[in-house]
């Protein structure tokens, strides 16, 4: 039997006995960021595919949700900083190796882009001012480049939410190349959930449901790969993934992430495609709950080992 313990000293709160430096605000930020990335990705993609006339929802209300999510997520992130007054220091440096740095810059880019993207819809209720019309016209000219930029930045944002964690070699549960892709997929799926939820057009909903089912299948397969990868790794990696597979977080993980967040909504969406009558909001809500739970569990469990 081997026993290794910190005998004394190092009783720093939030570090020992368990690291809990990052909590709910970070999980919320990762979730909202991923969701916003998902929405913005599809809205720009469908615009470029010239579906904006036939499928209007992604460009109107979903965009507002994305903007709101980005702002709330950023606020959560800011309030998690212990020296919020020093935040501006993020923008006197750019460090490609530090995910936190390029994440901050991505946020700085994507929020104005999203607002610009939302301008034609957002301000449609006030159109009596000349300046506004001129502004909208100008924005409209740049719609295509904005869409291209949004696709790029939203993919970066989606990957970044996972990369922020996966860059930490010290935390075996996080330190996996699969985590950024998992977070991106989960973010896209969450984005779609919002779009489906807000959509009254069943044809449009079904298109997104089909995409979502494929995303979920892809995400589930990747989760298996992620787990196998960790299980075949070092002692620390094994005990890290064991927390999710059969340990302390197993119930939450299987229940909230696998079933509530992935399997059940996929089944529901598939049934809905087959014409079953299920309230529209059920699958999206489950997906969103699952997405948030996934971030929370990964953030929490990742700090324990």
């Amino acid at each position: 039997m081997n026993e290794e313990l910190i005998l004394y000293g190092k009783n720093n709160p939030h570090v020992v006995p368990q690291l809990e430096v990052w909590g709910f605000p970070i999980s919320l930020y990762l979730f909202l960021g991923g969701m916003a990335a998902g929405i913005l990705f599809f809205t720009s993609l469908f615009y470029l595919l010239k579906k904006d006339k036939t499928m209007p929802v992604p460009y109107t209300r979903a965009t507002y949700i994305a903007i709101a999510a980005l702002i709330i997520g950023t606020i959560a992130l800011l309030f998690d900083l212990h020296k919020i007054l020093n935040t501006w220091r993020l923008y006197t440096h750019f460090d490609l190796q530090a995910p936190m740095s390029w994440g901050a810059w991505t946020l700085l880019a994507i929020i104005p882009l999203a607002i610009l993207w939302g301008v034609p819809y957002k301000f449609s209720f006030i159109n009596e001012y000349k300046w506004k019309n001129r502004f909208e016209t100008n924005v409209a000219i740049f719609r295509k480049p904005i869409a291209v930029l949004l696709i790029i930045t939203s993919v970066i944002l989606g990957v970044y939410t996972g990369m922020l964690l996966s860059a930490f070699v010290a935390r075996p549960l996080w330190n996996s190349n699969f985590l950024p892709i998992l977070f991106l997929l989960s973010g896209l799926s969450s984005g779609i959930a919002v779009i489906i939820w807000l959509n009254r057009n069943s044809l449009e909903r079904n298109i997104f449901r089909r995409i979502d089912i494929w995303l979920i299948i892809f995400e589930l397969s990747l989760l298996i790969v992620y787990a196998i990868d960790l299980f075949s790794g070092s002692e620390a990696q094994v005990s890290a993934i064991r927390q999710l597979a059969g340990g302390e977080f197993a119930f939450l993980f299987w229940m909230m992430v696998i079933f509530v967040g992935l399997v059940i909504p996929a089944v529901f969406e598939w049934r809905e495609l087959r014409g079953a009558k299920i309230p529209t909001y059920v699958a999206p809500v489950l997906i969103l709950i699952g997405g948030l739970a996934f971030r929370m569990i990964i953030v929490q469990a990742g700090q324990l080992i």
Partner: protein
């Protein structure tokens, strides 16, 4: 210059004097520590062995906390000492998450991420770090690895040693002599 510390695990009794000296030197708030004692027990009674180690920031040559810092607050200073610049620190916690040794914490007074500094000011003034200076078993050695005549260089030449969590690839500057 490459400052490093060597700790003789054959001699360390884990008394914690290094911990107290550090707290006193830097007036660290009650309940916080920059150094600590680890104990490792192997085997089954009565075939047991035990090792005690005085641990702290490893001042890694390839320090993850420096890499992940978004504002360059965490940096490698003169002599390879890893320090944080409070003016730049935003308190994001990335460095705390990144440290395989859990050496960092948020200072409850000013919110800075902080840790062992190898007593860089004392060292610059020609003194030993506070922990080394008090150690009653003389099990701690501090010096410059680039100086071939330094005691620490000699010890590392002559004795077996290990670093903590070498698999992390951080290249620690604290060596445990066995």
């Amino acid at each position: 210059m490459r400052y490093a510390m060597a700790i003789d695990t054959r001699k360390c009794v884990g008394c914690g004097d290094c911990v107290v000296a550090c707290q006193e030197q830097y007036d660290i708030p009650a309940g916080y520590c920059r150094s600590w004692i680890a104990e490792q027990v192997k085997g089954k009674y009565p075939n047991v062995s035990m090792e005690m180690r005085s641990e702290r920031c490893n001042h890694c040559a390839d320090a993850p906390c420096v890499v992940c810092c978004p504002t360059d607050s965490s940096h490698i200073s003169e002599g390879g000492i890893v320090l944080t610049d409070p003016d730049l620190c935003i308190g994001c916690g990335a460095c705390i998450e990144s440290c395989p040794y859990d050496a960092r914490y948020f200072d409850p007074v000013n919110g800075n991420a902080t840790k062992c500094t190898f007593c860089h000011e004392r060292v610059a003034g020609g003194k030993l770090p506070a922990c080394v200076e008090v150690c009653p078993t003389y099990c701690m050695f501090f010096g410059d690895l680039d100086d071939p005549n330094a005691e620490i260089t000699k010890l590392l030449r002559e004795r077996d040693y290990k670093t903590l969590k070498p698999e992390m690839g951080t290249e620690p500057h604290i060596f445990y002599l066995s």
